[in-house]
Symmetry: C2
Subunit: 206 residues, 2 copies
Amino acid sequence: MRTKDKILQEALHQFNTIGTDQVSIRSIADAVGISAGNLAYHFKNTDAIIHQLYLNLVEALDSEVQQIQESLVDMQYLLEATQRTYRALYEYRFLMIDFVAICRRIPAIKTHFSELMGMRQQQFLLIFKYLQSEGWLRHDLDEQAYAAFAEIIIIFSNAWLADAVIRQQPENAEQQVAHYRQLFIQLFIPYLTQEGLQQFQQLITD
Amino acid sequence: MRTKDKILQEALHQFNTIGTDQVSIRSIADAVGISAGNLAYHFKNTDAIIHQLYLNLVEALDSEVQQIQESLVDMQYLLEATQRTYRALYEYRFLMIDFVAICRRIPAIKTHFSELMGMRQQQFLLIFKYLQSEGWLRHDLDEQAYAAFAEIIIIFSNAWLADAVIRQQPENAEQQVAHYRQLFIQLFIPYLTQEGLQQFQQLITD
DNA sequence: TAGTAATTAGTACATTTGTTCTAAAATCAC
DNA sequence: GTGATTTTAGAACAAATGTACTAATTACTA
């Protein structure tokens, strides 16, 4: 494995474990078994490492996002995409957990993420429209309600990782992801029609 | 104003503005106009200040919590209590925004908050039961669904302040609080019965 | 193989931070 | 007013961190 990748791997591990503010180029260099000077050759500072890891996450998420844009998704795809997205978020969980501090340190991340969330919100609105046209989402709620719902979904999706640290006992990754994916599903339940509910429950039991 | 209060006031301001990790006893002392040695006399370190501010927030929230425990609340009280609670959270927003980092630094806060959230979850379940008995909340969703809903409410309530920093343009406090209180209300909408919806809309338009 | 570029280790320096200590000054109790 | 207590300023110290620089080593290329 290239030194650069070793650094990224160890940095990701330390960020996830002890938090961004406790990690220094020396702590990473020591763990990898290289000198701090060498690390500085690859990454000028920890901010550069964080930025690279952020780009890695975005790349992982982008593949999902593009598929959604290209074709209108059914509910099954939505659930599967959420599973994959949440796993990726978990892998890079320090980014969501320390996000405000990171945005303060690296404004480029804030700008990019802000735009990304704007796009996702629009995507969810399209998905809602499609699910409504199929008769799976309720028609008795107005557009404003669904706009708010999209916002709520985004807030939840950005927040569950921090919640896991604060409120949950430490469990393994799969359990954590499964728990919050279940809550994500629960967000949709009260918006579903009878027909949508049946479709949903069939998918979940699979 | 006592020096101790001046310190707390300035510390709160700096924490909210630039984040916990950028604040030192010296930055606070300089702003207050006292020596670092004097500040250390009142608070051993920044963690001690954070802990005190956390206790202040908890005290502000406790008055709400106790009222809920003593008497079963109606929907109007729920909305008003949310308004007051969200304002208090906004005042001490750095606590929610940097919560994971703070919990790592001060384990006592994590323990206390974890218990507090457990209590709040139980309270919401009681409130749901009451609202159901009044015919305002839907009966066609099972207990598990409402347990998940309570969890979602808590996650949202802890997350909106970070979301405001990340996604929103900087606005004034009242606008921010109003926006997220609106989203809080939207969380309830799809769970309401026809009757509950009418009650709700009447309250909101007031 | 010779030479060039990439990689690595090690060192040094300025800055910041928490922490501790001392002594002066202010306040309070009697 | 006097003595004790509280409050304050200031200095000093160790530890950690980002940063920059040098020289040695390795890898690559022609």
